[in-house]
């Protein structure tokens, strides 16, 4: 699936074009794999634009980017043999081919394959680095995370709980809030669409807010600023409320940062690959012993990807949004 043109505001199906190309011949050291899962993530909106950002945009006429889980079907590379499962970055394609340097072999008996693009993948690492390295939560503190039922937010809150913090989620429906509290074990979850969100958030954070994992921007950020404790930390990893805005929206007045000696720090998970070993060790263990749970929102077929991507911006996904490009042979 190629990026045909750049969206103004919300992406549409018209921004994409499906083409069929001949299967590449496997080069020396090459590895050819079939895509099983494609991850859909908010950052993709940025790659569709050509405004300056931390990564180059997807070129027009090129396949749209994305994290993938694949199975090797042909290999001339000693690191891979047919049948291996790999995590990679093959984008919105049914097949990928490269020398494999960017691929990581997955053990399907250790964790479900799809976790490699979710709780044990980039979203999980984003949560881990942002919460622990930038947010530096201490036991007893209150951690608030927006998009709490999503791929990143769900890990943030659960890790906050594991670290002894009060975890308060913000989500966009009663069903999501119930899931966040009942299934993920957050202490509370507030629906930002409710009438008096500010009061509800205040009630959910009787000791104020020490860490706010900023995932969405907009009105949630405004309400949080009013509840910050002294020396609060705000890891800023996304502002999805704003990604489709044609003109940049304003942010709330930042005076609370001054009064509360608070810190906001933007971060990009790509800068923190050095933390991947610790992340994989910790989160794999928490996953195995049931302390870390996750939910997936799976759509079938690459054709469905453009419409599915919009669900992220409308808050309509419920759990990690994944396209099943082809059948997962490890899952019945």
């Amino acid at each position: 699936m190629l990026l045909r043109n750049r969206p103004t505001g919300r992406p549409t199906a018209d921004n994409f074009e499906i083409v069929s190309r001949p299967m590449p011949a496997v080069a020396e050291d090459g590895v050819l794999r079939r895509t099983i899962y494609l991850s859909l993530d908010p950052y993709m909106r940025g790659r569709m634009s050509d405004r300056p950002s931390y990564a180059a945009p997807v070129a027009l006429g090129q396949p749209m980017c994305g994290h993938t889980v694949s199975q090797v079907i042909e290999s001339r590379n000693a690191r891979f043999k047919p049948g291996d499962f790999v995590a990679g970055y093959d984008g919105w394609q049914q097949y990928g081919h490269s020398n494999g340097v960017e691929l990581r072999v997955l053990d399907p008996s250790a964790a479900p394959l799809s976790t490699a693009i979710g709780v044990l993948g980039m979203p999980g690492l984003t949560a881990y680095v942002g919460l622990l390295d930038i947010g530096q939560p201490k036991a007893g503190e209150t951690v608030v995370v927006s998009a709490a039922s999503g791929a990143v937010g769900s890990v943030v809150g659960q890790v906050a709980r594991i670290k002894g913090c009060r975890a308060v989620g913000v989500a966009g429906s009663p069903a999501k809030c119930a899931y966040v509290v009942n299934e993920l074990g957050f202490d509370a979850c507030v629906n930002y669409k409710d009438g008096d969100f500010q009061a509800a958030l205040g009630a959910a954070c009787p000791q104020g807010i020490d860490v706010y994992f900023e995932n969405v921007g907009g009105a949630v950020f405004r309400a949080v600023l009013r509840l910050l404790n002294a020396n609060a930390r705000i890891p800023l990893c996304g502002m999805i409320a704003d990604y489709n805005a044609i003109d940049a929206t304003s942010s709330p007045n930042l005076r609370p940062l001054l009064v509360k000696r608070a810190m906001i720090k933007g971060f990009i998970v790509l800068d923190h690959e050095d933390r991947a070993p610790a992340f994989l060790r910790d989160c794999s263990a928490w996953l195995r012993d049931g302390q870390l749970k996750y939910r997936e929102d799976i759509v079938d077929g690459l054709d469905a990807a453009p419409a599915a991507l919009l669900k992220l911006f409308d808050g309509e996904n419920f759990g990690k949004l994944i396209v099943r490009v082809s059948a997962d042979p490890t899952r019945s």
Copy 2:
């Protein structure tokens, strides 16, 4: 001078009331001093309000607060003798009396007395801590500071130069800009009232901005955000553009923080008294050897204080704003 009522928006003379009270009898361990200099600073606007902040407001009917330089006229405290000069916090009063625990004795031969409320006082420490501890400038980086001719900004830029950085000021008149470059030695200074401020700031920062010492808020912050380099740091010590706003204004969209992995951190100089010895050592030395210069804007008489305070918010002061409450015997 008492705080009579709380301002809505801009303070006026009507918010204050001059009263005469009998001279206090000097208590055991007490020290009575005559105010020579009273510092006027932007934070005073916050103390006139009763909205929540990092420090309690001045109570109605009580003397307005402020840093002072005074001369001891009577002492029953072994630490002080008549004639001593002291830095303290006696507020808008002609005389102060206390047990002296908060006073620091000044050596008038080491530096002019008035520097104790300026370049060697709270404004200087604010600049020192914010720039060095939070901004962490590295040689070769570009440091931008707003209110560059003021008490804090002038120190920020000069210390940035001493540390090998490119120092770029922002100020509000051609005369201030000329002073900042020609007298203080900044590499450039841009007038924020000029038509194309954004372009002028960009031209003054050809390598982008690594540290922005945020002193004012408003439009300058917006222009700076567009020029941030990766991993930029923004110590936030004041938002004077907003202090008199009745409704909080909004801030620019914070997406650049994310893209540039930038950090904003609010700080209050009161939290950093532990840095005072290093600050006094360094800045006293730089002052003596001529690397650190300063300018004072002195008004005479406590009666003039209310109107003078407004100069800060209108950008009409040129240099550290000081009220000379009584004659300085060390200065002819």
